[in-house]
Every structure is written in C-alpha cells, then in structure tokens.
Amino acid sequence: MGQPGPSPNVYFSPGGESDPRVPGSGDRRPRILGGGDSSARNVWIAVASTVIFFGFIALIVVRSPGWPEIKESFFNGAEFRASFPVILQKFVRNIFIFCIAEVLVLILALFIAVLRSLPGPVFTPLRIMAAAYTDLFRGVPTILVILLLGYGMPALNLQGIPDNDYLWGILALTLVYSAYVAEVYRAGIQSVHPSQVAAARSLGLSRWQSMRHVVLPQAVRRVIPPLLNDFIGLQKDSALVFVLGVVDALGQAQIIQQGDFNFTPLVALSLIFIVITIPQARLVDWLIARDQRKRQSSAAV
C-alpha cells in the first residue's frame, strides 16, 4: 500500500514561526540548525543546492559573449512595459475563442464518443462515421484545418455562408479538438466495468438510461485530468487563428514586433500563456494524485 510520502506542506511551512496551536513548536529553529529534525534539514539542503545550481547557470548565461544582444532583443524592459498591456488587452480575444471552443468541444466530443460506443451491428455505419471523423481530424494539422475553413469557406461565395474569421477559427479548433476529446471520453466510457451496465439493465433501465445515469457520470469523472490536458493544448492553439487575420494577442504581438524590430512582445505573450496554463497543469497533477490516493484507499478496504 502507498506509504504517504513526506507532506508537501513542509516546503511551505514557515520554518521559524511559532504556531500557538502546536505546543513546543516555538523552538523549531534551534532544532533545525542543530540538525535534529532530518526532514527540515533536507529542506534546507534542497533550497541551498537549488539556489547554487540556478545561480551558477544564471551567471554563465549573463557572462556569455552574446548576452547583451539577446537581452536587448528578447528581454527589453522598456519594450516589455510598453507592449505587455496592449497584448494583454487583445488576449481577451483568445480567451473568447478558446472558451467558446471548449464548450462546443465538450458537447460535440461527447456526441461522437457515444456514437462510437454504440453496441450492436445496426449501428455499424454510425460507428464507422465517428471513427472516420476522429481519424481525419487527428491526422490533419490544426493550422491546415483553420486555413481550409477560414479562407476556403468564404471563398465559395455561397449564400448563407458567413465571412467571419472568429467563427471559422472557433469551428476549426472545435472540430480538431473534438477528435482528441472524443477519444478521451471513449476511454472513460470503456473504463466503466460492464457489470455496471448489467446492473442498470437488470433493473429495467434502457440502453440510453444506463448510459446517461450510470456510465457517463462515472466516465466523465475519470477523464477530467486528460480532458484538462487537451484544453491546455486548445488554449495555446487559439493563437493559430491569427493566420486568418484576426488581431488576437499573437497578431498584436507580431504587429509590435515588426514595428520595433524587437522580439520582447512575443516573449511577453509567451509569459501570458505560461501564466494561464501552469495553474491548470498543476490542477491536473493534483487531480491525478487525488484519484490515485482514492484508488489506493478503496483497494485497501
């Protein structure tokens, strides 16, 4: 059984402060310095070695011959302060794009996954259709789908086909990511043991009622971590829509970059993406760890 490792809290615990709720916690510092508490000593060693290691690397980078040029071109402070607010403002458009796409993906992907999971020979054509869809859109590069739809559809000049870059961008992202997320859902549906369906059907529930009340709730719960992973990918790929001429955050950053001959705006945008994706990545890690703990504790029963 999984022995609980050292609590991650230890890294955030205020080393020297006294906790009035814990008797004797006030004299922590002397014990740490005396090396009496081995886990606290490990923290100190970890902190020290990390600081020395990264300090050393920073020193090498800063003292290397090309550094002033790199700094001027990629990490220009003035350029950063000037461009960051403008790019952040346009990033709202990316948020708009990926939020709508995410909602559509959740729905379309579930539909495809359910189609692919239909049992019986009657549904073979539907299963083939769903499988062909996932193969197609997982195979074609996202940027190609965006170009094909964004330039191709309006170029048809057909009545009723709108000429809106956001619409085609969002649709392209939805089509591509639904293929991935449908596979995630399908793995979740297949992970629900057939005995659960047998139990539901034996009570008189129809195939669809069993799917809706018994299989899907369990499947969706299990696939939340991989689903969030795909959403992180989708959020980053929202920047691809700029190829259609949409001035999103990337479009804006490129305009500034080409005007000023400086790459700092692109670095600033990278920073924005990193800042929004890292918390989500940590959330995924946390959810996976929680699942694992749950499975271990239920296996122990």
């Binding site: 047998a198 059907r201 034996s202 009570l203 009340h213 719960r221």
Partner: protein, 248 residues
C-alpha cells in the same frame, strides 16, 4: 398454486463452449429454490438468461404466463418483473444508497422523487439500512453493500428475485447478515432462485434444490434428500468436496 417461472429446453453457448445443455426447470409462486454445483456448471449463466442479460440459443423461458424469450417481447418491461442480485454487488459508486435504490423506480416506473424516496426509505428501514441512506457505497461494509443491492432489486417490486452467489465475495463474518435478509424475504413469500455455495443455508431456506453439472440439471429434490442421500455419483462427489472444504 401458480407458476412463477417455467424454463423448457434451454440451450446457451458462448462461441464454441456450450454452457447450458437443455435445462428444464419450473418454480412456483412463493417458492424458494437453490441451484448448487461447481463453478462453471452454468448456475450464473442460467440466472442471467432468466433476466435476459444473455440471449438464449434454444428453448423458452416464461415468467408467469408470458413467454419472455418470444420474438418482439419488450425486454426492459420484462426485466422490471425479474430482479437480480450479483456476486459483486454492482452498486453504482457515484450515487448515494438512496439514489441507488430510487434510480430505477424513478426512471423506469416514472415515480415522483418523493414517492420513490418514501418507498425506498421504507425498504431501507425494514432491512436496518435507513441510517446509511445518504452514504456512498464505498463507505459501507461488503455485507451492507450487498443488502443495499437486494433492496435496490426489491424497490422495483419484482415478481421473482434471482440471487447469484450473493455471499461469495463477502468476509465470512459478513455472510450471516445477508443470509438473514434473504431468509426474511423467503418467509414473506418472495419467489427466489438462489445460486449458492452455502449448503447449510440452502438446506434451511430452499424448498427444492437443483444440482447443476456441466450445463445440465443432474438431480433435483427436497434439500434433506439431496444432501443426505444423493442418487447420482457426481452429486455425491460434489458434496464430498464441499464438506472437505468446510462449507457444510
């Protein structure tokens, strides 16, 4: 006395393996019968066929006076009349005990939430599980989970209840509470077909015992006769092995 179940010439194969080789079996209303036999003798498959969880290859099954294996029978409607409880409980882990019990009455019988919950609470009360109503299954012991599974099947008010080795997955100390619940149901006149390895229980509760061997009913009769003077050599050998295993 009316017939609850009548099975005639039932055959069932999985690919090349013939699991049931012509089963004839009739159970009266309010009668309790036990199926005994080694693992793989076809007990579970027989029960799953009666619940239409497995399609049959030949023969017929009637519940009351309706032949449920005929063409065009509404499978979902039939299953409402036949409850089944599985060896591994198969409770829905994402639902509370109360929702496990009320799901089918609400979805299938279209009872209102209030009515379904009132009926469910009455059943849970009757079997001493009322205080567990809002717990999730993983908080319960195996015995409690299996008792909830029985309540869940009863909530559909089935004409007949099938029990598929319901104590085989339980700790020995938890077996008694489940068997007590089944005894109570038997006393109240529930029609039941019970596949079991608990021979002492079968002797107590069953009116007739059927010995299955390699997909056929080799011997049937009153439990005291089957257990004390079996006619067939195979039955005798099976019971000897059970005694050697300390299960009798």
């Amino acid at each position: 006395m009316t017939r609850a179940v009548e099975i005639r010439g039932l055959h069932k194969s999985f690919d090349d393996l013939e699991v049931l080789k012509g089963i004839d079996l009739a159970v009266d209303s309010h009668e309790v019968v036990c199926l005994i036999g080694a693992s793989g003798s076809g007990k579970s498959t027989l029960l799953r066929c009666i619940n239409l969880l497995e399609p049959i290859d030949a023969g017929s099954i009637a519940i009351g006076d309706e032949e449920i294996t005929a063409q065009g029978v509404n499978v979902d409607a039939t299953r409402r009349r036949v409850g089944i409880v599985f060896q591994a409980f198969n409770l829905f882990p994402h639902m509370t005990v109360l929702r496990n019990v009320t799901l089918a009455p609400r979805e299938v019988l279209k009872l209102s939430k209030a009515d379904a919950e009132r009926d469910a609470m009455a059943l849970l009360e009757r079997f001493g599980l009322a205080d567990k109503a809002l717990d999730y299954p993983d908080r319960l012991s195996g015995g409690q989970q299996q008792r909830v599974a029985i309540v869940r099947a009863l909530a559909m008010q089935p004409d007949i209840l099938l029990l598929d080795e319901v104590t085989s997955a339980l700790d020995p100390v938890l077996v008694a509470e489940v068997l007590d619940q089944i005894r109570e149901l038997a006393e109240q006149g529930m029609t039941m077909i019970i596949a079991t390895h608990e021979m002492g229980f079968a002797r107590d509760v069953a009116k007739r015992v059927f010995f299955l061997h390699e997909g056929q009913i080799l011997e049937e009769g009153r439990p005291d006769r089957i257990f004390s003077e079996p006619e067939k050599e195979e039955t005798r050998r099976f019971l000897d092995r059970i005694i050697a295993a300390g299960r009798m």
